[in-house]
């Protein structure tokens, strides 16, 4: 890992021209979004694993029931999330 890593100095960053700076900003914004989605996926997987994978582990694949359960679990959790926000909003008024 360290051998392939290029050591960047602050001085190197000053070599970036405007076009590359814009491109980098866009790249970083995308990466930030990707990591947020991954973080949310970790937390949803935890929640839905507990709900959907209830039996003993018999093999390394998800069965049809578990697959469907996980997809529903994500959708219903998000429904609940929206509902909570809506209700909290209505309680303020």
């Amino acid at each position: 890992m360290s051998s392939s890593q290029i050591n960047l100095e602050n001085a190197d960053l000053e070599k970036l021209n405007d076009k590359d700076k814009t491109e980098l900003r866009q790249f970083l914004a995308n990466e930030q979004q990707r990591s947020q989605i991954q973080a949310q996926t970790h937390s949803l997987t935890q929640i839905c694993w507990n709900k959907c994978i209830t039996g003993n582990i018999k093999n390394n694949k998800l069965d049809k029931g578990e697959e469907g359960c996980l997809a529903n679990c994500v959708d219903r959790f998000l429904d609940m999330n929206f509902l909570t926000m809506k209700h909290l909003n209505s309680m303020r008024n």
Binding site: Q5, K15, L44, I53, N59, L62, D75
Partner: protein
Amino acid sequence: MDSSTVKQAVMKQVLAEANMANARVLIEKLQENCFDKCIPKPGSSLSSGEQTCMTSCMEKYMAAWNQVNSAYIARLRQEQANNSH
């Protein structure tokens, strides 16, 4: 180094670090959950049954992560489409 080389290097490093961080969380969670499932009563050594369970469970947890990730992204896209008109 010219501008383009610097840009590429920054991107490469950010990607490597982000992927490493994601993998680290995945491994941590998978160990927690599979330890719970496969080793309910830790004995004096890992039995072969426990080891088989652990490796199946690891693969299953990763499959579950991918399934949840696709469902989540599909929902985000749908919400975005609903909000745009």
